[in-house]
Amino acid sequence: MTHEFDFDAVLASFDRLLQGALLTVELSAAAIVLGLAVGVLGAFAKTSGGVTVRALVSAYVEIIRNTPFLVQLYLIFFGLPALGVKLGANEAALLAMTVNLGAYATEILRAGVEAIPKTQIEAGTALGLSPLQIFRYVILVPALETVYPALTSQFTLIMLASSVVGTISANELSSMASLIDSETFRSFETYLVVTPIYIALAFMFRGVFLLVSRAIFRRRRRLQGVFGFGGAR
């Protein structure tokens, strides 16, 4: 082995990495909450809306799912100021992450909504519930439960994707790493430290997803995929 490891310079900047990790967590958590909200609205619109609404939601989903996240980020960060909307780097990053996750969440949740048996909707209808009430009280929780593993994977992906928002100077974990790398020239060491931090963050998020699922889906089921095996019984 020719590389001589020297972690001292990197570890001397460990507090900055933690700062970056904190921003990664904050951005991701906010994007997950907001993106899920967008997804819920999108799924409702796409399954219950009129032709125009459905077409608009489809256009949004297709545009986002067929363009790189980096391009979406730049469009928001550089485009909105041109339209007179001033956004800080962190706000632009959060907006881009929300818009991106919202599109994927819409599509995942739509599948969950469509998997609900028609008879459930009829039972709600016969009880006098409105379509919105049926969505809220009859469809939403079972649909979320059905697609929860796919949804939480997407949540993890947006956390990992936040590593590119450093390009608009939102100083999350990867951007801090790149800074330390350029100061110390210890690239390998830097990213060897950053990698386990990302893994730890991912597992932390999964733990939160599991706790949330236990709170929401009281009728406990095997939540395959949340931890990669059939836990949660």
Partner: protein, 243 residues
């Protein structure tokens, strides 16, 4: 004044005519059984009464509401019409109590305490008080169907529609559901039931309607329908049922 009145109702799915000029009336407190072969239009008729299916022509009046294609009016009508389905259709993510209190709370805006009191009442009526905190999947088919009946009762309907509610149950479970329905009938509930339980129809229903080819082929007091069928189609239907 009848609680349910159908006048010359027609309904078709594309080229297939399912209801072909159906007229009938259900008086308050009356139990009406609807019998007939699969595809004779009996379930469709029931589903038209609370607007789950749209009719092409004719007139339906239920509990003082004229059925029209207006969403708000339909929702008001449905509050007065209970419906129980063959496949129970309980909400799997809600407990028995939540299944029962959902519509009173959300649709009628009843306070939670009142809705819960009603839930306890109707559960007692169907004999399942001890299952109040269970989830549907923890119940047998018969118990689920009784909860579904309780869920409808909690809306204090003026008429209850039963769509082949025992068809998915074995004889023992069928019996427990029928007992609940008989109790309701004795308590004076206005009921329409599509059923294959001929013995139950004969014993409990005041009037039995035989549907054939989308028409009310023959109807009358249950005893007369079963003991003295007038049309060859009904005679043949009853004979095949006895085999």
């Amino acid at each position: 004044m009848p609680v349910v009145a159908l006048e010359n109702v027609t309904k078709s799915f594309g080229a297939l005519t399912v209801l072909d000029g159906v007229s009938l009336a259900v008086e308050p407190g009356q139990v009406v059984a609807v019998i007939g072969r699969s595809g004779s239009g009996k379930s469709t008729m029931l589903r038209c009464i609370n607007g789950l299916e749209q009719i092409q022509s004719g007139r339906i009046e239920v509990a003082g509401h004229v059925l029209e294609n207006n969403k708000t009016a339909l929702r008001e009508l449905r509050q007065d019409v209970g419906m129980v389905f063959q496949s129970y259709n309980l909400f799997p993510h809600l407990t028995v109590e939540e299944n029962i209190t959902l519509a009173p709370r959300v649709v009628k805006k009843e306070p939670l305490a009142e809705a819960k009191a009603t839930a306890r009442n109707v559960l007692e009526q169907v004999g399942l008080s001890e299952k109040i905190d269970a989830y549907p999947e923890q119940l047998s088919g018969g118990q689920q169907q009784r909860v579904a009946i309780a869920r409808s009762l909690a809306m204090h309907p003026k008429v209850m529609l039963f769509d082949e509610v025992t068809s998915a149950l074995d004889p023992e479970l069928t019996e427990e559901v029928l007992r609940v329905m008989e109790g309701l009938a004795k308590a004076g509930m206005t009921m329409m039931l599509v059923t294959h339980e001929m013995g139950f129809a004969r014993r409990v229903a005041h009037v039995t309607v035989f549907m054939h080819k989308g028409k009310v082929w023959e109807s009358g007091p249950s005893e007369r329908i079963f003991s003295d069928p007038q049309t060859p189609e009904l005679r043949q239907f009853l004979a095949s049922g006895l085999k």
